[in-house]
């Protein structure tokens, strides 16, 4: 290692090669530039001519200098220069590298990785081996162990795969692991700490440092205070908002954490800023969200912080508001009149509804309990309810005849008068009362009042001083309709009319549903009962706070683990349970209060990761040499006159594009281009297609034949066919072609599986294939005789049952009226699919004949037929063309000409 101020050379002896540069100068000077090469037709006249004298051509000096510069750059680069070389490693033993890879290391992971790579590079240059110790417990046994001494390459491989774990580090276990390491020489120790004190005491840390110092000189890295990991607290649900606390490890300086509330699909539901004043370690944010949105929150996350504790997964415990309906009493037996029926219909769409007795419902845990005209409750039930309300339950009661008969009840928000008030009826003058608009401050504020809701009977509250405060809704005359009282953590709500239609038509209106939803929204959620069963892992957070598949080490979560708050490789943070019961298990819940290690540990100075890092100049020097070499190439071209300025731009563009395409895409792009070109060619025009048999003579005839047919189609019909294409089965996409002409020869090989699959797909999706046996005598072999070429070819193709074309088939009248289908030869039978009309618009997917149609259609480039038609001459050729037109029309238009079959009958019916 040779050091020159901020520059150092790792391989200084290579610099001696610079001495060879003058030799290079002399060599380059001597070689003349290569001549330009010019094609010249009148070369015969030039040959033998010689210029009068031959002066030696020399490379210009500046070009030689450029080439020397390139050589010098390469030599300097290979000497491995380093800018800002880092401190050399102390001691002589292996480098002991201790990496904290717990959750808190994830926030600055890239910096850590750079530091690790720098240290490995240094160890590599110094020829040291490495002992690596990662302090987060790993594996199913949660163990921490130091590696054997590794060579730098192996250490690099090991540490490349290192990622932060979503649980804390275990320094005690690390200490134990270090005790097991025995090194003979004094070894440099580097500890990349995560800067957090994971519940260890001062003494623990001192022990740890002492052990490190016993190995050799220690260097400790740690994040800057503002870059230490933070964590989210447990979210708290209030009536209308979600509050969450953010905690940081150091209370120095100002800081800002932005918390996002995200839905299951990653949608942003809310965003709130938590500001930390200097000296404060905690700050809280609050999301004011409508109930529906609040229930959608799937996780809270600190923005731009990728650690497992910066994510808080929300499960049903934070959103469940089950409503219990006490379904007891005689009215519950009258399904359509019972109050429970109306309540259930109103609540079920929005909330989870459970029915049962008071005792059962309280045991199951509900957020809201509705009691419809219950009368007096048994004493023990009343007591249980009262306790439950104190703890946060919401009791919703409805009035009714029974309540009206009973005066005093502890579970009422207001004192009631005995008896009820009747507002309409045969014997009263007054009219049913309507509702007054909801006043501001009532939970119902903002709800629309339907005109037709009237209350005919109600129970009345005794006037009291606090009655207006307790009232949530009134009638037009000012008497309370809904009253509520806060008791402890919970609410007691009374609707002063019945839950069914006996006293009011409120239960029939949309307002009823809205009011119930508001009341439910006011209530607190319920804490989920701890399941007795073990919950299997569904999804797990990784060290960067991303949800993914649980690792193989993860096992089911049981109540005991939850109680202990243990998070390790067996129980990573994440979501556990089944589809119906999802339990979030959060790291943020389980890590205790955060505390930093402080600026120095046991007197040991700490350095931050963001130090000046050494820069390896090798790639830069080589890149510069490459650029100069390219420049040299252009100059050489220019000197030889091969670089014309007009072409320069184009050439450079082509070069760049080529390089970019070559780098980015490579060979697959080429194939892609080919496919695209074929697809474009096949789809921009209607084209007839033939199967390429691989036998040039046959393929040429097919091509010429379809060209002739295309020409006839263009001339006579609305089909505008472009030049036909040949397709290679299994390699080209067939879906673009309605009709495929397939000449069958003895020489063709049987189809491979890809080709057979492609042909089957083509037939299944509505394609038509015309098999042409091309020899009349072959037609006899279609039926019966085995091992013909056709049968070999179509062995893997699903050919349906075939029949000869019937005289009234569409093929006989798709464009021209014709009864037989001659090609180059006449008289053969054309076979088509028998089960027509059901699929493909009645178009037969397979047609087989032997008349060599392509031969009859084939024309040369000047439009002259290539082969004679036997025996019928030009008339037969014309009929062959007509068959071709009919065939294409049949393939393109399907069976619409079939209707012509019915024309005689239609005409007969019309009486003509």
């Amino acid at each position: 290692m040779l050091e020159l101020g901020p520059l150092a050379f790792a391989q200084p002896w290579l610099l001696m090669a610079l001495g060879a540069l003058p030799l290079l100068w002399w060599l380059l000077r001597l070689t003349p530039p290569a001549p330009r090469r010019i094609d010249f037709p009148a070369l015969r006249l030039l040959t033998g001519l010689r210029p009068p004298e031959e002066t030696p051509a020399r490379t210009p000096p500046w070009l030689v200098a450029l080439r020397l510069l390139i050589a010098a750059l390469i030599i300097l680069g290979l000497a491995q220069p380093l800018l800002n070389p880092s401190r050399p490693l102390a001691g002589s033993g292996p480098l002991v590298l201790i990496v904290d890879d717990g959750w808190a290391a994830a926030r600055n992971w890239p910096q850590r990785r750079d530091t690790i790579n720098g240290l490995i590079d240094q160890a590599e240059r110094d020829g040291r081996s490495l002992v690596v110790l990662t302090t987060a417990p790993k594996g199913p046994d949660s163990q921490v162990a130091a590696s054997d001494p590794l060579n730098p390459a192996a250490a690099r491989r090991l540490l490349q795969g290192l990622a932060p774990q979503p649980w804390p580090v275990d320094r005690r276990a690390a200490l134990a692991a270090l005790e097991a390491v025995t090194l003979e020489a004094s070894a440099p120790v580097v500890w990349l700490s995560d800067g957090l004190n994971h519940g260890e005491s001062e003494a623990d840390l001192r022990d740890f440092m002492a052990r490190l110092r016993a190995i050799g000189p220690v260097r400790v890295y740690q994040d800057e205070p503002l870059r230490l990991a933070r964590r989210l607290g447990t979210p708290q649900l209030d009536a209308g908002s979600v509050g969450v606390e953010v905690e940081r490890a150091s209370s120095e300086g100002e800081d800002l954490a932005v918390v996002r509330a995200l839905a299951e699909d990653g949608r942003l539901l809310g965003r709130a800023e938590a500001r930390f004043a200097p000296g404060e370690a905690r700050s809280s944010v609050r999301f004011e969200l409508p109930t529906e949105l609040r229930n959608e929150i799937a996780r809270l996350k600190i923005e731009a912080e990728e650690t497992a504790a910066a994510v808080f997964l929300i499960d049903e415990r934070w959103r469940r508001r089950p409503v219990g309906l006490v379904a007891a009493g005689p009215l519950a037996l009258r399904p359509l009149l019972g109050e429970v029926y109306y309540l259930e219909r109103a609540l079920a769409p929005y909330t989870e509804v459970q029915k049962g007795s008071v005792g059962e419902l309280l045991r199951q845990g509900v957020a809201v309990l509705t009691l419809a005209d219950a009368g007096r409750l048994p004493a023990e039930e009343a007591e249980a309810l009262s306790l439950w309300i104190e703890q946060g339950g919401t009791l919703l009661r409805f009035a009714g005849p029974r309540m009206a008969q009973q005066g005093d009840d502890a579970l009422l928000p207001v004192r009631l008068r005995l008896g009820d008030r009747t507002l309409s009826g045969a014997m009263t003058w007054s009219r049913p009362a309507k509702l007054a608009p909801f006043h501001r401050g009532s939970p119902f504020a903002g709800l629309d009042l339907p005109e037709d809701v009237v209350v005919e009977r109600q129970v009345l509250a005794e006037p009291a001083l606090d009655l207006p405060e307790k009232t949530w809704a009134r009638l037009e005359d000012g008497t309370p309709l809904v009253t509520a009282e806060r008791r402890g953590e919970g609410w007691l709500v009374l609707i002063h009319t019945s839950a069914n239609t006996d006293w009011s038509n409120l239960a029939l209106s949309g307002l009823f549903i809205e009011m119930l939803r508001k009341i439910v929204a006011v209530s607190q959620g319920v804490a989920n009962v701890t399941a007795d069963e073990a919950l299997p892992p569904l999804e797990a957070l990784d060290g960067f706070g991303l949800l993914g598949r649980p690792p193989a080490t993860a096992v089911a979560l049981d109540a005991e683990t939850i109680e202990a708050g243990r998070i390790d490789a067996r129980h990573p943070p994440g979501i556990y349970g089944r589809d119906s019961l999802r339990r979030a298990y959060n790291l943020a819940d389980q890590v205790g209060p955060l505390a930093g290690l402080g600026p120095s540990i046991d007197g040991q100075a700490v350095q931050s990761f963001a130090g000046r890092s050494e820069t390896v100049l090798l790639p830069w020097l080589l890149a510069a040499a490459l650029v100069l070499a390219l420049l040299d190439m252009f100059i050489a071209l220019a000197l030889r006159g091969l670089l014309i300025p007009a072409r320069l731009g184009r050439g450079a563009a082509v070069l760049l594009l080529g390089a970019a395409a070559g780098l980015l895409a490579g060979a697959p792009a080429e194939a892609q281009d080919g496919d695209d070109a074929f697809a474009l060619k096949a789809t921009t025009d209607t084209r007839l297609a033939y199967v390429r048999t691989g036998i040039p003579a046959v393929d040429e005839v097919s091509h010429a034949g379809l060209t002739g047919l295309s020409r006839v189609l263009n001339r006579r019909t609305a089909v505008e066919a472009a030049e036909p294409v040949g397709v290679r089965l299994g390699r080209d996409e067939l879906a673009f072609f309605p009709l495929l002409y397939w000449p069958v020869t003895r020489e063709q090989r049987a189809l491979d599986s890809a080709a057979a699959a492609a042909v089957n797909a083509f037939l299944k999706n509505g394609g038509t294939i015309l098999f042409d046996l091309r020899r009349p005598e072959a037609a006899a072999q279609v039926l019966g005789q085995p091992s013909t070429a056709l049968q070999t070819l179509t062995r893997d193709i699903q050919v349906p049952a075939l029949i000869p074309v019937s005289p009234d088939h569409v093929l006989t009248k798709a464009f021209y009226l014709m009864q037989d289908f001659p090609g180059r030869y006449a008289g053969g039978t054309l076979w088509i699919e028998s089960a027509e009309g059901r699929v493909n618009d009645g178009v037969s997917s397979v047609m087989i004949g032997a008349n060599d149609w392509a031969g009859a259609w084939a024309i040369d480039e000047q439009g002259r037929p290539l082969f004679p038609a036997v025996p019928g001459g030009e008339r037969q050729r014309e009929m062959a063309y007509r068959f071709g037109v009919n065939l294409v029309m049949y393939a393109l238009t399907g069976n619409y000409k079939t209707d012509q079959v019915h024309v005689p009958y239609i005409l007969e019916r019309l009486g003509q």
């Binding site: 003349p32 094609d39 010249f40 030039l46």
Partner: protein, 293 residues
Amino acid sequence: MLQRALRRRQRAEALAANLPPLLVEAERVAATVAQGVHGRRRVGQGETFWQFRHYEPGDQPQLIDWRQSAKSDQVFVRELEWEAAQSVWLWCDTSASMDWTSGDDHGSKRRRAELLTLALMVLLVRGGERVALLGSGQPPATGRGTVTRMALQLEHLEANDSSLPPGQVLPRFAQVVMLSDFLAPLGDIDRSVRRLAESGVRGHLIQILDPAEESLPYEGRVLFQGLEGEDPWLLSRTESVRGDYQNRLQRQFDGLDAIARSIGWTYTRHRSDTSAQAVLLTLYAALTANQAL
């Protein structure tokens, strides 16, 4: 491909449109100069009435002259006089050396040669003459379709190594127009054209050269490579041999002129960056000059 041939034909037609239909003088039947159509006094294909005869089975119904047939009970067929026209054989050099140009502003020599060939063909066909491409193996033909067909054939003539026409035997009194760069050794050219001239064929040589071949504009160290497999030639200072080169070229011109004169043919030089019309006019003059004989 057909499109390209058509485009080429259109350009040739546009070029030929400015000259009156070219009528090649028929030497053999000098007296019957009826629009270049030379009656054979025999039944055959033509336009002039020759005779009526009775309809026989096998005749095409279109040939029946209904007016004549209506005059009697017989059905008559109209027969026409067989008319023959002078045949002109065009030869266009397709060797690799023709497919070369020194710059972007003008096309290759072969392109120019093909253009001239087609323009000439258009003129000849318009004059009723029968034309053919020498070396294509097709007999002479006339009619507008011929030009299209010949244009296609011209397209298909593959580059061959021979810079000289094939030794095909031509009918007597045919005319030959040869378009080439005529850079082959003079002896070879002489042998090849003399063989044709000896069979009584009259001809015209049009030498098409690229401007760079005349001026040799290159400078410095240049390795010249041939297009037909010749050995390359390295010149360290090209500009110093320019005078010698041009002398050699001039000797080639003079030799060609001498050959043409000795067998009674014409010789025209044309540079591929000049107007094609000028050389067509010269050629027109050369072909019609025979009319005076």
